[in-house]
Amino acid sequence: MRTLRGRLYLLVILGGAVSALGCKKQTPPAESGSADTAAAAPAPAAPEAFAVSEVTLGKAIGADKKVASPTTTFGPKDTIYASVATTGSAPSKTLTAKWTFQDGQTVKEGSETIAPTGPAVTAFHIEKKTGWPVGKYKVEISADGTPATTKDFEVKK
């Protein structure tokens, strides 16, 4: 009897252990809960593509590189600013301003390489100590060599 009782006792203990193991197997792993949470969370917004949004001309810019008083008419002794507003981000973008005279002559070409992380303003300027010839000019803005926009202006006496 003792032997039989002992065996029964052992079976009860083993049975309990197996049940415990079984319960443990049914418990969902912590990782699956985390994965579900991640899937339910909204995906991070894709970075906005870089683009030239606006070009403004003027005789002066502020600390924010923006033209305070936009104009397209200048005097011979004026410094001419082109304020280029851009949106979006890029690891590296080269903005180029090509200034040309009415006869097609290139007046000046300048570039600025930037790594914008959002809206930015890039300013270009030209000046001529001996005075600008009267006439019509234009500035062409390009990004990485691709023309983005053109702005016409005039120099009057």
């Binding site: 180029t96 930015a120 890039t122 300027h125």
Partner: protein, 80 residues
């Protein structure tokens, strides 16, 4: 109608520059001041005037002649 005998406008003395609120991709930028040369700038940033060509190559669209740089020009200074 423009006069064909009118001399062509001279823009050789035009100076220009640029600046931005956006950061430069890497390295730094430098705006030329009176008395600068590429060697002098290279000496300042790299401690070696002989490395002027590095600045020249990074700014080829801005520098037509490495012996002629102008106040107001802004150059990208590549990492050493």
């Amino acid at each position: 109608m423009p006069d064909s005998k009118q001399p062509k406008a001279d823009f050789s003395d035009v100076e220009g520059g640029s600046s931005s609120t956006a950061p430069a991709p890497s390295g730094q930028s430098y705006t030329v001041v009176k008395g600068d040369s590429l060697s002098k700038i290279a000496k300042h940033f790299y401690g070696d005037a002989q490395k002027w060509r590095k600045i020249y190559e990074a700014n080829r669209n801005e520098i037509k002649n490495p012996d002629l740089i102008y106040p107001g020009q802004t150059f990208t200074i590549p990492d050493a």
